[in-house]
Symmetry: C2
């Protein structure tokens, strides 16, 4: 029951990109330095974030990466799901639960409640707010 490293790095990448103004393109080397994301993860991470339309990638000399509009307003939950897929703490909390005991299982509501509590925290945590916090921490405020 643990976040993948790729999703963890994706969150760092997104927060870093969100500290730049809209229109600013950030070089890959700069993203590596800020997120400390190993090269082997970064391609996967940027590919997943681009596919989810949270990040826009530009090629060429003046290329780089920029937060898409949806990325600026995204939550930690959206980033985790872009990398790892939907969060389902147990087999019975997914959209197509596959458990013969579910109709009479007394633990089912516990998993629904636990998932709702977890997802709620991740949904309320917005990238743009965390980026503001990062900027204030960097300034020693």
């Amino acid at each position: 029951m643990r976040l993948t490293r790729a999703a963890d790095y994706a969150i760092r990448v997104m927060i870093h990109l969100a500290t730049f103004a809209p229109g600013d393109r950030v070089k890959r080397t700069e993203i590596v330095a800020a997120s400390r994301c190993p090269e082997k993860f970064l391609s996967k991470v940027l590919q997943s974030l681009t596919r989810a339309r949270l990040v826009t990638s530009y090629r060429g000399k003046s290329g780089g990466y920029e937060l898409a509009s949806a990325g600026r307003h995204a939550s930690i939950l959206e980033i985790v799901e872009a990398l790892d897929g939907p969060i389902h703490l147990n087999a019975c909390t997914g959209p197509e639960p596959d458990c013969p005991l579910q109709p009479t299982c007394p633990a089912h509501h516990v998993w629904i409640e636990a998932q709702s509590a977890l997802v709620g925290v991740l949904e309320r945590a917005k990238i743009e707010n965390l980026a503001g916090l990062e900027s204030r921490i960097a300034q020693g405020a």
Copy 2:
């Protein structure tokens, strides 16, 4: 970020054992039928629960499995941790966090809050209460 099947089965086994009065020993075949736990999982599950002193095992003709006193008052959290180890949603939420960015990471508090929300729900869900609920469901109440 998902519960292992072994932990899921362990919860079913514990709830079923808790529907019996203290002193009642439950046969392995009866546990298999109630939990629908495949044989290949059941040995691991019962071994982990016994090692964690949540279940007591008795050998011989009148042998079987019985909930230990600690097991009756246990929470879902204790059972999950007996099978899967402590819950740490991210590398930074464990007792020995290993992340160079942690002191300045704006997402760290989100993981602490998410873990606390998840663990809180699992801690409040007590086996004896869930067993009572199972009995009422079985009686059609």
